[in-house]
Amino acid sequence: MHKPRMQLLASFDIAYLQYLDERGSPTQVLPDFATADSLCRAYRQMLLARLVDGRAVKLQRTGRLGTYPSSLGQEAIGVGIGSAMQASDVYCPYYRETGALLERGVSIEEIFAIWGGDERGQNFQRAPHDLPICVPIASQILHAAGVAFALQYQNASQPLRVAVTCAGDGATSKGDFYEAINLAGVWKLPLVVIINNNQWAISVSRNAQTAALSLAQKAIAAGIPSLQVDGNDVIAVHWAVNNGIERARRGEGPSLIEAVSYRLSDHTTADDASRYCPQSEREAAEKLEPLGRLKQYLCSQGVWSSDHQIALEEELAQVLERALRHYNHAPKDAPNALFDHLYARLPEAFYDQYDNLLNCSESHS
């Protein structure tokens, strides 16, 4: 049979990065930022994220919170992202982001408020420029591209402020994801996109989303650099995100990071993963989770001990209790909030409805 002779037009490599293996042993020399201090801090933040998640699930079970998406097992991603960003950068989160939100200064009460059905949670008091969490899959990546444009536009000289966003593995199937990285590539925007590949989009497995070997390689379609990292290794995540941010800050454009992890929980409290996820797969994944390996590494370095652990757990328990008290005692949002923030100034045409709302809510209460 005829075999044509072809020229090689282009070649692409996708690399994988890991620093700490699943037992907490370094697989290579650690980067400079991985000091005892910074890693202890990362551990603290990851544990806090885990505790907040756990508490949120409990609150949901007792009817004090609505549907909640736990990030159990993916704490290294959020903390790795958050710790690599500057406060003045802008984060565009999706909904499974406890770790990153806490890093950005979003309060636990705000997180609870969001899932407790109260928009005021999205009014991040200490992350005023960050976007609210985004529920429609992948749509935030386009916002992030727009934010990146704005940051570049407002500060044409380097170093730039950068936009950072995160989305799930399922999100990579949606046109928005591709359109956003393609635009970022051609406009050379200061943007870093992280994919939290937790292997599931509700019940649809990573392999049912795409025939691509890796999600990182999707960046090739946009002509931007990418990397796959061990998403349970907070050092690898931090390095990759920081590297992407530094590139972007220097005006070298966007990049994509696939952080490979695993969703060690149901999709949300409304889900039952046992319907579709093999128990054995989950158990295998538990061995790879990010907190244990970091703790082991820290212990092996002599900078962490069970005393530290107990002290930290006590401290965080208090943090959590305080937040919960605030959450529980927050006054309810008023019905007129339905209209108060729709427009900068409510158009006259809706005064009637506003009055009707107030009347009805009086009779309601």
Binding site: V135, S203, F350, S363
Partner: protein, 332 residues
């Protein structure tokens, strides 16, 4: 014949038709092993195989677009959108293609397909999970917009939708997915599309509502009955094309009408119904057609959703306005 819920009626209709019609395929996010996030496709993949009941990648535009390609080649695709709040990326394919293929090719190709989506509020869901934007779809030429309000109507109307030779969007009121049970014979008998159902007879006022809102509407009717006011309650079921004749028949008795819907008021379905009543039955009207609807604001997070959704109180108040009407409402 056992009692089943609305969501079970959906499953039953899908199963009946999958069994009866080898051209039918079902797909969407999580419809396979998981049986759909509301279990509307529970057990279908096990029973009919992975070739006929398929999980799609996470892309609504894909669900809508491939349905068009399948349908023009003779399949009967039924695509599920997980929530109405995520259907908008699919609008282009629905509006530009599914509803136009027949006309565009002068009848050469057609799109016998169904798009299913749970809709509506009241289940304390997260943002975007409580939308009611049926009016957007009702404005699209060539589309049928169907909303069941009971298990029996879900079963019969979904079968009709699947068998219809043209595209249908089938909006399922998820708030009542499991709250009502009814005996529904799995006989494969479809109910008529483009046809109103009169759920309650009455002589004083005509109430028009669909989907979950019929619960509040029927309760309001009962409350009114205790005050001696007899409300006729009509479920249009097919919002487009609208069976205005049945509505006017009712108005011949009552002369007064209140339309109730969850969706925002402005340019909503209530407007179309009111406009048609004006056009076809102006002389019958003793009062303006009143609308009791969601406000013209975003569906709030769930803490405030009860203030947004029309309540029995609001419906009763609307009816009384319609009944008491003798001079113009203030325009303040």
């Amino acid at each position: 014949m056992s009692e089943i819920t609305l969501v079970e009626a959906v499953t039953q209709a899908l199963a009946f038709e999958l069994q009866a019609d080898p051209r039918m395929v079902v797909f969407g996010q999580d419809v396979g092993a998981n049986g759909g996030v509301f279990r509307a496709t529970e057990g279908l993949q096990q029973r009919f195989g992975r070739e006929r009941v398929l999980d799609t990648p996470l892309a609504e535009n894909t669900i809508a677009g491939i349905a068009v390609g399948m349908a023009v080649q003779g399949l009967h695709p039924v695509g599920e959108f997980q929530f109405m709040g995520f259907i908008y990326p699919a609008l282009d394919q629905i509006l530009s293609h599914a509803t136009r293929m027949r006309n565009r090719t002068r009848g050469r190709l057609s799109c016998p397909l169904v798009y299913r989506a749970p809709y509506g509020g009241g289940i304390h869901a997260p943002e975007h999970h409580s939308e009611s934007t049926e009016a957007l779809f009702a404005h699209i030429p060539g589309l049928r917009v169907v909303v069941p309000s009971s298990p029996a109507r879900a079963y019969g109307l979904l079968l009709a939708a699947i068998r219809d030779p043209d595209p249908v969007i089938f909006l399922e009121p998820k708030r009542i997915y499991r709250t009502i049970k009814q005996q529904v014979a799995d006989s494969g008998t479809a109910l008529p599309l483009d046809h109103c159902f009169v759920l309650r007879e009455g002589r004083d006022v005509t109430l028009i509502a669909w989907g979950a809102m019929l619960q509040e509407t029927l309760s309001a009717a009962e409350q009114l009955a205790q005050e001696g006011i007899e409300a006729e309650v009509i479920d249009p079921a097919t919002l487009k094309p609208l069976d205005i004749h049945s509505i006017i028949d009712s108005l011949e008795k009552t002369g007064r009408c209140v339309v109730i819907h969850e969706a925002a008021r402005f340019a909503g379905m209530g407007a179309e119904i009111a406009a048609q009543i004006g056009e076809f039955a102006f002389d019958l009207l003793k009062a303006p057609v009143w609308r009791v609807t969601g406000y013209d604001t975003v569906m709030p997070y769930y803490q405030l959703e009860d203030f947004y959704l029309p309540s029995v109180t609001r419906i009763v108040a609307g009816v009384k306005e319609a009944l008491d009407w003798d001079h113009p409402r203030s325009r303040g």
